[in-house]
């Protein structure tokens, strides 16, 4: 069966698939100022997530009916929403909840995927077949629909969104770790460690995992962007953090009825999501070039 799942270790990811499917073709190098700008923006987003009070004055929930639907200006940098809440403050305070789902889903997926990949590579033929067939099936089903199935079962909320996204991203990591492990276990240093009488667990922990780590990290960096988009989409559909949480996707969802009269409500939360994902993609691709340059 021909599919993107064959072409890419992460079937559900536009960014990765686009690049890996070509194989021979390298993504075009992003100019250095671009990489720096992306890194700087990510640092700012990280600061907003950790200490929003340092980036924006005011609070995200201070509603003021007299101030409702103000256009961007001196008083409110990015305008106000229908409840008179300052959009800039909400976007800054929204960084943490918005990043949480994407980062959380990636962390869960990497952990589960690594475990599955090791199990497939080292657990014997039967286990390998079972795990890899499971991975294939999960990669064949449409990602967002699979996430929706999970949320129908678990109900909405941040933890459930994390679980839903992790379920369909984990198989990609499992595939990568399995492939890496298959290669590494045949290398000289693993043979040396085996002949020195090291235990299996020790060999995995000390030799296999560290060597499989670099490609895993690069893939995860790029995949965080995809996970963020998925989380924002689910929030927009009302399945993530519930209002009045200032999550970016949920802000767009909450402002739905006012797009026709207040364009800024439709624009700025989306700009925050897109710039964050764009910066992650830029930095991720740069990292991959560095890692590939070192290994090839």
């Amino acid at each position: 069966m021909t599919s993107a799942a064959d072409a890419s270790p992460l079937g559900g990811a536009p960014v990765t698939t686009a690049v890996i499917a070509i194989g021979t073709g390298r993504p075009r190098r992003i100019p250095r100022p671009g990489v720096w700008a992306a890194a700087l923006f990510l640092a700012l987003v990280a600061l907003a997530a950790v200490a929003p009070g340092l980036v924006a004055s005011g609070t995200p929930d201070a509603a003021d009916a007299a101030d409702a639907l103000q256009a961007p200006g001196a008083a409110h940098l990015l305008g106000t929403d229908a409840n008179g809440r300052d959009l800039f403050a909400r976007i800054v305070f929204g960084a943490a909840p918005s990043l949480l789902s994407g980062l959380g889903a990636t962390a869960v997926a990497v952990t589960a995927g690594t475990a599955l990949g090791l199990l497939a590579a080292l657990g014997g033929r039967v286990l390998d077949q079972v795990v890899m067939r499971l991975v294939e099936v999960l990669l064949a089903l449409p990602t967002l629909l699979l996430a929706l199935l999970v949320i129908t079962v678990t109900g909405p909320g941040t933890a459930n969104v994390i679980l839903a996204i992790a379920l369909y991203t984990a198989p990609g990591y499992a595939r990568l770790v399995r492939a890496q492990t298959m290669v590494i276990r045949r290398t000289g240093y693993v043979e040396a460690a085996t002949s020195l009488g090291l235990t299996r667990g020790r060999i995995i922990a000390r030799h296999v995992l560290p060597n499989a780590f670099a490609p895993l990290l690069v893939l995860a960096t790029i995949e965080v962007g995809t996970a963020l988009v998925a989380a924002a989409s689910l929030s927009y559909l009302g399945l993530g953090p519930q209002p009045p949480a200032p999550e970016w996707g949920a802000m767009l969802s909450g402002g739905r009825d006012y797009f026709s009269v207040a364009w800024w409500i439709a624009v700025f939360p989306g700009v925050a999501i897109t710039l964050t994902v764009l910066s992650i993609t830029v930095v991720g691709r740069h990292l991959r070039r560095l890692v590939e340059g070192r290994t090839s």
Partner: protein
């Protein structure tokens, strides 16, 4: 002669096997979801609607809920094989009927977006491959933005600019062509940017091939070389990914149909998720798995049309 034939036979068997596996996997995932949901299975199937005790007894009998788990699984598998996707107690109709009624609108949107994406990315790739640095730089930049923009936000932006500000297109539930334009663009955009990037890279590789040099040596103009010789090979990566692209398009139906207030599978699914109507969500997952399998079989056939070399190879 038995060698190649046996290989072809094995290839066909592998493909059929994978298709069956994907479908069986989808059924199993659905069944697992049903049983992982907290609460009594019959109550989960009924969701938030109220039914008479008779209907409840009927559900228990239909799904074999008073029997061992393995029997329930076999019963469920048998029902799905017969095309019975169960009953939606909230919509008061069978899941198959509910999906059937909405499928047309979504297929129209998906196919239009697919055609737009393929045509647009082929044109862009043909125009930008091996061109001046700044053209390629600009299109790479745009592609980077294209893959980073969430589809639902693209849809919101299109709606805000072209419906609310400019008033060019209907804002909600537009019928016919005018209502289709903005949703199709929103759905096609990420696929287009991805395909352009991929096709341009494969086009640039193809332009290095000896047969391209031969064509040029014969005095063929550049555009002729690109259209007559290179284009065919540029389409191969696009075709490889069609199965996966269709999955992506189907996923983006959910927010896009909601934003443009369109009928379709996306709206049906979203309503079912919020209303905890599990039979409908399970049905949609199964139907899309079937679509995936069918599309991939078509893709395999398409290969043979595009690249004549593969006909002998298989």
């Amino acid at each position: 002669m038995s060698g190649p034939r046996r290989r072809t036979g094995r290839l066909v068997l592998t493909r059929v096997g994978t298709s069956v596996l994907v479908l069986w996997g989808a059924v199993t995932v659905s069944f697992t979801a049903l049983h992982l949901t907290p609460g009594n299975v019959a109550d989960v199937l009924i969701g938030s609607s109220t039914v008479t005790p008779e209907v409840r007894a009927q559900i228990i009998a239909d799904y074999g809920l008073d029997r061992p788990l393995l029997t329930q699984y076999a019963t469920y598998l048998g029902r799905v094989l017969r095309g019975d996707l169960g009953q939606s107690y909230q919509l008061h109709e069978s899941v198959a009927a509910a999906i059937g009624a909405q499928l047309g609108a979504s297929v129209q949107l998906t196919l239009s977006a697919l055609v737009l994406a393929v045509v647009a990315s082929t044109t862009l790739a043909l125009l930008t491959a091996r061109r001046a640095r700044w053209i390629r730089g600009l299109s790479s930049g745009l592609e980077l933005v294209g893959v980073s923009i969430p589809t639902f936000w693209t849809a919101i932006l299109l709606l805000t600019v072209f419906s609310f500000q400019l008033g060019w297109f209907p804002a909600a539930g537009g019928e016919g062509f005018a209502g289709l334009v903005l949703p199709v663009i929103a759905v096609a955009l990420p696929v287009t940017t991805m395909l352009t990037q991929m096709m341009r890279e494969s086009l640039e590789l193809v332009l290095d091939e000896p047969f391209v040099l031969t064509a040029r040596a014969r005095g063929m103009p550049d555009l002729g070389v690109r259209l007559r010789h290179a284009l065919r090979h540029t389409l191969v990566p696009a075709v490889t990914l069609i199965g996966w692209i269709v999955g992506l398009l189907l996923g983006s139906m959910v927010p896009v149909e909601q934003i443009f207030s369109r009928q379709g599978i996306g709206q049906l699914t979203l309503g079912a998720v919020t209303g905890k109507d599990l039979p409908v969500v399970m049905g949609v997952v199964l139907v899309t798995a079937v679509l995936y399998v069918v599309v991939n079989i078509l893709v395999d056939l398409l290969y043979l049309v595009i690249d004549p070399r593969l006909r002998g190879a298989r």
